[in-house]
């Protein structure tokens, strides 16, 4: 139920709809819950963006993970 998948915003289409790219699929989603612009990354759940991710985080989650891990070892 709570699956959410990162996607890149390609185009804003009207007040609350955006075209996003999931990597191998482009789809229109609802953006009522976030303020986004093209180029932003979002987490998509049941057809709605539920949070904006920073571009870097959207592109490379592993790097963030490594940073957390490094911080933990301190």
């Amino acid at each position: 139920m709570c699956i959410a998948i990162p996607a890149e915003v390609i185009e804003i289409r009207g007040e609350s709809i955006a075209l996003v790219d999931f990597g191998d699929l482009q789809q229109e989603i609802r953006i009522d819950l976030v303020d986004v612009e093209p180029g932003d990354f979002v987490l998509v759940h049941v057809g709605f963006a539920i949070q904006r991710l920073s571009r870097e985080e959207g592109l490379e989650t592993r790097e963030i993970f490594r940073q957390v891990y490094a911080a933990m070892e301190e």
Binding site: M1, R30, D32, V34, V46, I50, Q51, S54, V68
Partner: protein
């Protein structure tokens, strides 16, 4: 050495007593089972499943209410996961009614716009992750032939119940990453127990377990965030605002639990015209269970799917007896898919 390998070694070095950690998220269970994480853990560390599958914790009375909506001639729109959950008299799938699977609430609204002569009722399940999407749809003024059966639940009240009850003997909680993406984790700070918000990659989950094991070993009780790329302390403020603009908390029963105060969401009076329960005079009844199914104990974290006499015998994904064998996020279905082949 890979990150995952390093974390597993760290984890083994940290655990030298019996530890039980509960997650409250079906997506976590699916990730844990898929990656075979339990087989990598120290012997004394157990991951316990909590009430983290919204379809599974929806009590039978609410499934029966959805079937009542079919009987009243509504088009019933729902997530696919709910289709085969057994009610007192069959499931939505076997109801013979006009039941349509939708991606989300907005698609149900589109059906109502396309078919104005019919009533469309959306069976609205889900935690804090999902409820704001429904709030946004309601605020978009859907047509009058649209309504929802609100089966939403909030996670913190259930966690409070589990902590007060204490039957599962838990040492820490792995908080649901996407519930917290929306809701944040500030509300969980009141719980005096080790907690870590975790993401859904195997490394995210292992990292969360390391953080929890470290807190437990040091005798700490705080919240750490192992999913900072999506989760902040405050969450998505806009989503929360819309959710509480449209819904208000209400005391409701969860499957396997008694009535938990303020753990559900009902439409506020201003939006009562979209409340399917009021519109079609549907009463939600408490239903006693009679089968040998132990979904209730699985949801409270005191039994594993394989403890059930029916598991993989009378109850399979093709012939589900309880909801945990139906939903993609149900513990029994996940175990049937992955764990039962490992034993």
């Amino acid at each position: 050495m890979s990150d995952g390998q390093r974390i597993i070694e760290t984890l083994h070095a940290l655990v030298d007593e019996d530890i039980a950690i509960m997650h409250i998220c079906g997506t976590h269970e699916a990730a844990i089972a898929r990656a075979g994480i339990r087989s990598l853990l120290p012997e004394r560390l157990k991951i316990v499943m909590g009430p983290g599958c919204p379809v599974c914790i929806t009590p039978q009375g609410e499934i029966d209410a959805a079937l009542d909506l079919v009987d009243q001639g509504c088009i019933v729109a729902t997530y696919g996961d709910l289709l085969r959950v057994p009610g007192t008299r069959g499931s939505l799938e076997s109801s013979g009614g006009d039941v349509r699977v939708v991606q989300g609430v907005h698609k149900a609204v589109e059906i109502a716009q396309r078919e104005p002569e019919k009533e469309v009722a959306f069976i609205s399940v889900g935690f804090e992750t999902t409820a704001p999407t429904v709030a946004a749809a309601i605020l978009g003024n859907p047509p009058e032939n649209f309504s929802i059966l609100s089966c939403h639940r909030l996670v913190p009240p259930a966690m409070q119940w589990l902590l007060e009850q204490g039957e599962a003997e838990l040492h820490g909680f792995m908080l649901p990453g996407h519930v917290c993406t929306v809701a944040g984790y500030r509300e969980y700070e009141r719980f005096p127990v080790p907690q870590v918000v975790a993401g859904f990659e195997p490394e995210d989950i292992l990292l969360g377990l390391v953080m929890l094991a470290r807190q437990i070993r040091r005798g700490e009780r705080r919240i750490e965030n192992a999913y900072p790329r999506a989760v902040t302390r405050e969450g998505n403020a806009k989503a929360k605002r819309l959710m509480y603009q449209v819904f208000e908390p209400v005391d409701v029963e969860w499957r396997g639990f008694p009535v938990i105060p303020e753990s559900g969401l009902r439409l506020r009076q201003e939006y009562a015209r979209y409340d399917a329960q009021k519109k079609f005079c549907i009463e939600i009844k408490h239903v006693e269970k009679h089968s040998a199914c132990i979904c209730d104990q699985v949801l409270r974290g005191i039994a594993r799917p394989s403890d059930c006499r029916l598991f993989a015998k009378g109850c399979t994904p093709r012939t589900p007896v309880g909801p945990c064998m139906v939903s993609q996020e149900g513990a029994c279905r996940i175990w049937h898919l992955y764990e039962s082949r490992r034993a």
